[in-house]
């Protein structure tokens, strides 16, 4: 059995060009089942485009993306019911109540026991008291929890998180991270997380892929990156990469 079919997410020589400009420029990686991997990079590094190609929202210019054995975007309907995502760049319809939104998405994902699943997620994510409130009337933190509930409705095997704690206060962000950790521990899901928050990546991810100008600049465990760059925090490593300092120079 080849590695492409055993990796929940396999990306090979992936390229995306917009009018000749490479947003993603020949990247390759494979994620191990049940792993949490951080995708780091500055603005315009190609993280969101990479995630969009993994989701099948954007077609690659060349190269391949395989998710749970399905070639994306061609075979996406074979696996979309086993995936889900959360991003601050999409919203849930504001006029619908939290319960209505979750039940519509639960039906789209063919969740077996819709009421039961919503009740258990609401309890898990501390949303019970907001279930019958309009989604648009919730605070940013509450909306993020609703988005996370939507992302977990179908108990996905592959979860893509694009800056899941952007614009949240530290307490709420920490709370969200603990729920993501708990879900991975319970379900053994493979999680790919794009973030600008280095502390978040350090805490959640055993592997870190750092992108710059559409390419992978480094790819290792947090510990190895810190050791190779001679830094104490991932933020310092990120700045070294962003400013073009090699790990040998940075370590001096």
């Amino acid at each position: 059995m080849d590695a492409r079919s055993t990796s929940p997410i396999a990306v090979d020589q992936l390229v995306k060009r917009y009018k000749g400009v490479a947003a993603v420029d020949g990247i390759s990686f494979r994620l191990a089942p049940g792993s949490v991997t951080g995708l780091l990079g500055g603005n315009g590094a190609g993280k969101t485009t990479t995630i969009a190609m993994i989701m099948g929202l954007v077609s690659p210019t060349s190269g391949t993306v395989t998710v749970l054995g399905a070639d994306m975007p061609r075979e996406r309907y074979r696996v979309l019911h086993r995936m889900n995502f959360e991003s601050p760049y999409v919203d849930m319809p504001m006029r619908l109540t939290v319960r209505q939104n979750l039940s519509v998405f639960a039906q789209l994902y063919a969740v077996k026991d819709i009421e039961g699943r919503i009740a258990s997620l609401a309890a898990e994510l501390d949303l019970t008291e907001f279930l019958d409130r309009q989604t648009g009337k919730l605070s940013a933190g509450q909306k993020t929890r609703v988005s996370l509930a939507k992302a977990l409705l179908n108990e996905p095997d592959v979860l893509l998180l694009d800056e899941p704690t952007a614009s949240l206060d530290p307490d709420t962000a920490d709370w969200v991270r603990s729920r993501i950790e708990r879900y991975r521990a319970q379900r053994g899901a493979t999680i790919l997380l794009a973030s600008h928050n280095m502390g978040e990546v350090e805490r959640l991810c055993e592997r870190v892929i750092i992108m710059k100008k559409g390419r992978i600049e480094d790819d290792d465990t947090s510990e190895h990156l810190l050791s190779r760059y001679g830094r104490e925090t991932l933020e310092e490593v990120f700045l070294d990469v962003a400013r073009g300092r090699r790990h040998s120079e940075a370590a001096q």
């Binding site: 969101t48 929202l57 019911h81 999409v90 919203d91 849930m92 319809p93 789209l108």
Partner: protein, 272 residues
């Protein structure tokens, strides 16, 4: 596993989920419901009173009682059918929910079927009260057209869906920059499909364009029925055949625009 569906086949369950989503939205806002009735009622009353005035002063219009109101009501089926389709689609863009839907197992064909169902729901909310008003004010009973009405409706709603599907593709490809198309594209049909006058009024070269559009057959058929009391099944069949071609063309265009949107990355950026 929490889900039962493999997601590969067309699913009426997912269509029902989307219809439920739009129904929740519609019933949560009384201005949305009022808006569905308001314009059709204003149009019908204005044209109805105009016809009443003309019919009292001209022999032909006295004989052709109901032509204008019939035209207004049928035009509204065409116009509101497309608008009902397109507005439901636009709601997803306004709500920034398109990414959630495109990433879900919802297939484009299921999404389009849900939009078609909602166009009928929205049309019914608007047109049923207005058709009753037409009886009360002018004694014009649209429902008395019977089977002919069913043929007119089927042809008009098919055209409205075809236009709605094409506009949805443009919106996917071009984002809200193409929003004005959703509101105005149908007005191109107003002069060309001869809603308020016979095709013979047009210059001969323009008549070819008119006969290439399915609604023209409906409006001509309606005039034949109201003025000459003849149901022109031949016109309905020709209109239906053109509608099939138009619907297939619009569906093909939608799929090509969706593919292009995936290539251009437009599904990530649906604002203007």
């Amino acid at each position: 596993m929490a889900t039962t569906d493999t997601g590969v086949n067309f699913s009426f369950n997912r269509v029902a989920a989307m219809v439920r989503r739009y129904w929740y939205l519609l019933r949560s806002s009384w201005p949305r419901i009022l808006d569905l009735i308001y314009w059709p009622a204003v149009q019908m009353l204005m044209w109805g009173f105009l016809q009443l005035y003309i019919s009292q002063n001209a022999g032909f219009f006295a004989r052709a009682s109901g032509v204008f109101i019939g035209s207004v009501l049928l035009w509204d089926i065409l116009f509101r059918g497309q608008l009902g389709f397109s507005i439901s689609f636009l709601e997803e863009m306004y709500a920034r929910n398109l990414g959630n839907l495109m990433m879900s197992p919802l297939r484009p064909s299921e999404f389009l079927v849900a939009l078609m169902i909602m166009s009928i729901v929205r049309l019914s909310i608007g047109m049923i009260p207005v058709s009753i008003l037409a009886i009360a004010f002018f004694g014009f009973n649209l429902w008395a057209l019977g089977l002919a009405l069913a043929a007119f409706f089927a042809n008009l709603i098919l055209t409205s869906w075809a236009v709605g599907i094409f506009v949805a593709g443009l919106l996917l490809r071009n984002g809200l920059g193409a929003e004005s198309m959703a509101w105005t594209i149908m007005f191109l049909f107003l002069p060309l499909t001869c809603v308020y006058y016979p095709v013979a009024v047009l210059p001969e070269w323009l008549q070819y364009f008119a006969w290439a559009l399915p609604p023209t057959y409906v409006f001509e058929g309606m005039r034949a029925l109201v003025i000459d009391h003849v149901f022109r099944a031949d016109l309905m069949a020709q209109g239906f055949a053109l509608n099939i071609v138009m619907f297939a063309g619009a569906s093909l265009a939608f799929m090509m625009l969706l593919r292009s949107a995936r290539v251009q990355g437009s599904l990530l950026q649906t604002s203007e």
